[in-house]
Symmetry: C2
Subunit: 369 residues, 2 copies
Amino acid sequence: MKIRCKKSDLAKGVSIVSKAVPTKTTMPILECILIDATTNIIKLTANDMELGIETVIEGAIEQKGMIALDARIFSDIVRKLPDNDIMIECDDNQQTLITCEKAKFNISGKSGEDFSYLPYIEREEPIIVSQFTLKEVIRQTIFSIADNDSNKLMTGELFEINGDVMKVVSLDGHRISIRNIELKSSYDPRKVVVPGKTLIEVSKILSGEADSEVSLYFTNNHIVFEFDSTVVVSRLIEGEYFRIDQMLSNDYETKVRINKKELLNCIDRATLLVKEGDKKPIIINILDEVMELKIKSQLGTMDEEIMISKEGKDLLIGFNPKFLIDALRVIEDEEVDLYFMNAKAPCFIKDEKESYIYLILPVNFSGAV
Amino acid sequence: MKIRCKKSDLAKGVSIVSKAVPTKTTMPILECILIDATTNIIKLTANDMELGIETVIEGAIEQKGMIALDARIFSDIVRKLPDNDIMIECDDNQQTLITCEKAKFNISGKSGEDFSYLPYIEREEPIIVSQFTLKEVIRQTIFSIADNDSNKLMTGELFEINGDVMKVVSLDGHRISIRNIELKSSYDPRKVVVPGKTLIEVSKILSGEADSEVSLYFTNNHIVFEFDSTVVVSRLIEGEYFRIDQMLSNDYETKVRINKKELLNCIDRATLLVKEGDKKPIIINILDEVMELKIKSQLGTMDEEIMISKEGKDLLIGFNPKFLIDALRVIEDEEVDLYFMNAKAPCFIKDEKESYIYLILPVNFSGAV
């Protein structure tokens, strides 16, 4: 194989596919990036067997072939080479020469034959969303997946299509994040659970531009993201996702409208009295026109008052401050509405048309006041 | 005590003195910042017994007094408060109330009486340098102090005044860094060894502005840095510094003039084949008009050629690439001159008027080529 391409193109492609290179694996071939120039395009691929990414880069093929190169070394070399044409050339023993200007690197590769290609997926009827929307919706929900594997389904997110609405849901047993996205067209209903890791890596690659699109293909076992010159294929998480509709409710006894930034800054300040791992709740006392927030730990106490407009009953309720912060951080609205039933029922933060719903369970705070 | 000051002033002051708060200590009082408002100024102090910093901040004293507050919690609180007036008020039991707008923090302080004040230093005949110069000279030499304590003197830097020249030297047994700074006035000769830690912290506080000055006072046991509203007092390292003059030489068999950036980038690239802790040398082959650089490790090999102008003999010599990188990074010149005697003698990188001299010992590379 002998190819030539621009450093910037190669560096971008390597950075994209590197997201699918596992950090730990017992199969050394998975730590490689495959350069496939067997046809008339140059394709880079990485694949950790759950998540696979391939991307096509521009360049000239002087001799067809393929080679698998250690992802870490190869990407380090590409990143540090001068900003000029890079030539990659390998012999029958997979000895690979990487040349740029007067710099020559010689490293050992592995046979491309040993590499696991991405599974072939029949791609029919894509869901189209903008890169911006997909990147945003991941950011706005990913924080409430569970990070341990005790319940596999909680480590992923539900993507549910119904007509022209895509609903994205994550939950971890203490809270639920829901975003409803309006699509430009209407689609047949479908429903998959996508691994959180896949979404985190995909959102790193997405440009986030509003006028670039992503095509999503759902199959029984896989989801495919197709955008720019890149294809991401991921396994789905098997099983029936949680029935969240029965956890949602429109009833409330107390409704509070509050300035989002004031609330967020106040809770953020309060948490500096809470050491990592310590589970001190923030106590919220809702009165007419004012919300009192208190936190108390070995380090000291904090009190603060925020002006609100309120409907319904007074309420004293406690929360894990991190859960409130996570939700408030990803809401763009200047003012938010909080709905409460009582001190033991979940709080809902949602807008009127329910483009977002954040459900957060309260915590017991007997003795914490 | 009851004081009021602007959040920005307080945050800046706290950030400055925090540099002298030890990360680990068996004396809890040292983890505190002392707020001293016993006179008509507000002074913040921190002191780890080696290094002490005090700074005066603007503000109003409504009731005189002093209090010692845990540095970490106090600085977190100040940083996260709104950008407005902050009131600090403490009672006779050292309970301290910090108020800003509607936020109220209540934390326990310690009696200011238990705090160790900075030693009183007679300040006579200061050396004046600009903040820019001092910050730069620290950056340009600090990398070659030794980081272990097997030889205490190597963990510090020599500051030597001779007439209108200040010489700053650091060495670690493998290399020496020397900078000669021209001063605006002439001073009596003096010579001290300043702990590296002090210099690192001082350089973080220095604004780096060319038209702000620092006054340096040297005594037998201490150095004092006075600038803006801040005073830094540090113990000196005792003992006679190494006689470096006898290690320097103006003789050479080979002189090379080379583009600094090309050389630096090339060595930087080469090091990506060297894993942390692995001691692979970079082999430099000096020929007429060209310098070849080679590195070889388990990961692969790199070769590169750089155009040079050369005087004297050809030479094959090996170096720890990190030592070359450290020196080249802090030299501003576009072209640098390298002086060699033979493959076992040190290399000198220096300019004509010797405003900088970097001495680097070569390494044995038998079998590395």
